[in-house]
Structures are given as structure tokens and as C-alpha cells.
Amino acid sequence: MSRETALVNADWVAEHLDDDNVVLVEVDEDTTAYDKGHIKGAIKLDWTTDLQDQVRRDFVNKQQFEALLSDRGVATDDTVVLYGGNNNWFAAYAYWYFKLYGHQDVKLLDGGRKKWELDSRELVSDLPKREKTTYTASEQDKSIRAFRDEVLDAIGAQNLVDVRSPDEYAGRLLAPAHLPQEQAQRAGHIPTAANVPWSKAANDDGTFKSDDELRQIYTEAGVDWDKDTIAYCRIGERSSHTWFVLKELLGEENVKNYDGSWTEWGSLVGVPVVLGDEKGEA
């Protein structure tokens, strides 16, 4: 993958608004944002109800994902263009999710909803009508998803990238600062993890920085490009954004997202945790 295949800009989207084989999908942290206005023709996926199992902590399974996309009128060979607010935070999560289930042609709108709005481009309230399809997903691609035992084994052996804010990394905050902080789990980070806040990869308007700038940011944080990498955050969404940067923009081979992330790690009995700004020892 590369920037040319994984990203599109607003002009490209504007030119393809009436292309039936291009499906715009809004995925927002604020799940009501779509209802107040969205890009013409865009459908909505709700990350809290559509993309998560409602009983266990896990994603919807292959059959549920197929049923969801069939119902929303997304075909297996459609070009899916994802966008959302907050620098595409949740859109990047959905991108990773589509890749997890093997969707071939999926892209992100660079800058997402924020840049679209800041540029004063049109948002509409009309709901699109799409014919139902028979969507076929693949089995989960576990080469891009890390589980906790793998993360434990990666300490001191692979790059671990903690993409939360410096205060969450050090244990001074337990959640992003727009959320209440009271939580059950322990604060801190996984030993040896480099702290590269996900937002470093984005400009203020939400677009991605250049490949050269991105490579420099991770190099300076101590990422060894000869090693495999696992990214994590609090619940796996912000780290999808970093996974996108490392795997899809910079073309690194073995990059996984640990979607259990801090809400799992910080609640596990017996695993090592480091407090403070230093990475800590393996």
C-alpha cells in the first residue's frame, strides 16, 4: 500500500459523488454527527453498535459483518471511502476493520470531516438509498491484529508504540482529556513502548503529514525499522490511525494493532507496567 492507493483528497471525493461503485462511509466518534449533516451519498456506520459485539468485548463476527454491509448496500468489490471527525480517528479504525475482513478497495478521505467542514464544503441531510447486496467477507486477517500474549512476548523484542497522549503514557491521565478520568484499571504503559501520540501524524486540519515527516517522527521516538511493530492506545481506535500510517502510508510490512490496548493491559493481573515518562526496561 502507499499514499496513492490508501488516501484520496476532497476533490477526488467531489468528482465521485455520483459514482455508484464508490461508497462514502462516515464513522465518527460522535455517532450523531452524521445525522446533522454528511457528505452527499454517504452512509453511516456506528462504531458502538454496528462494529462491536453487544455482549462480549470483541468485534462482530464475519457473518455479522457480511449482514451489516449487505444491509447497507456495500458490495464486495465497491470502493469504500471512509471519513470522520477528529483527524479520521474512528474512520481509520473502520479502515483497519475493513482490512481485517479482507475488503480489497478501501481508502481514507485525507483530513476527514474536519477539513471538509473547515473548507466550507457542502454537507447534506438527505439519506442515500442503496440497494441491498450480498457482501462476502474473508476470515479475519490476524496478521494485522495483536492479542495480549503476543504483546507480552513483544516486550524488548519488537517495537511497541503507545500512541496515547504523553499524560496518559506517563500515568497522569487514564483517558483522553474529553472524557471523565475515573477508571478501574492501573495507569501507565507497557515496558519498552515508545510514546508517539497518534496526533503527531496529522496536521492541525486533520490531513496526514508527508512520508518524510512521518518517518522522522517515528525514527526520533526510537522505532527500529528492521523490527515488527505493535501499536496500542486505550481501546484500539487511535492506534488504528497509527497502524494506518505505518502500514498503509509508509508501507511497513509487519504492523499490528493491539485492540485490547490499555483497557485490557491495565486490568490484567501480573503483567509489567511502567509509570512515568521513561520507556522502562524489558
Binding site: E29, N86, P166, L173, P176, S199, R234
Partner: protein, 98 residues
């Protein structure tokens, strides 16, 4: 959840005595700006969180105690930075004019 609700979360059910709250309203010529984005930057200028403003221009963060910068982005306006101090059990109220 990990997401940003427009305007920031409501205080219903939140124990405000344990939170360092930063909140306020974005205004243009005295009118609320409902399509702005407010970012919270830490003492080193590092991005910590962002929320879209509500229809009434409001935003809210649950910060840690200390010094923060609010950076406001809105269509057809230059970014505006405002310094704010937060403390546990207090609500720092900030009006941002763009």
C-alpha cells in the same frame, strides 16, 4: 467509550469533585459558533484531545491539573490559542472569540 461527543460529555453522573474541567464557548461577533473544533494541548504543546463545538458553541474537557492551551479552529478564521489553568474540583470557564 473513547469518543468525543459534540460539545463534550454532559456532567450527568460525573463526580466533578474529582475532575479538572475546562469548558467554554466559541463566539464570533458575540454569536455562538457551532461548527468549530477545539483542541486541548498540554504544557509542551502536544495534542491531548479535540471536540467539535455543540450547536450553541460549547465545549468541555476533563483535563488533569495544570496549564493547558486551547486551540480553536473554525471555517474562515485563523486558529486562536488560549491559555488555561485547570485544577481538580474546579471548572475553568473560557470564552473564545474568533
Amino acid at each position: 467509550m473513547c469518543g468525543a461527543t459534540e460539545g463534550g460529555l454532559s456532567l450527568d453522573g460525573v463526580d466533578v469533585k474529582k475532575e479538572a474541567i475546562v469548558q467554554g464557548q466559541v463566539l464570533r461577533d458575540g454569536e455562538p459558533v457551532g461548527n468549530a473544533y477545539v483542541r486541548l494541548l498540554d504544557r509542551n504543546g502536544e495534542f491531548t484531545a479535540e471536540v467539535p463545538t455543540s450547536a450553541t458553541g460549547h465545549f468541555r474537557f476533563f483535563a488533569g491539573p495544570g496549564s493547558w492551551t486551547l486551540r480553536t479552529l473554525a471555517p474562515k478564521a485563523d486558529p486562536v490559542d488560549r491559555l488555561v489553568n485547570a485544577a481538580i474540583g474546579e471548572i475553568a470557564e473560557v470564552a473564545v472569540a474568533i
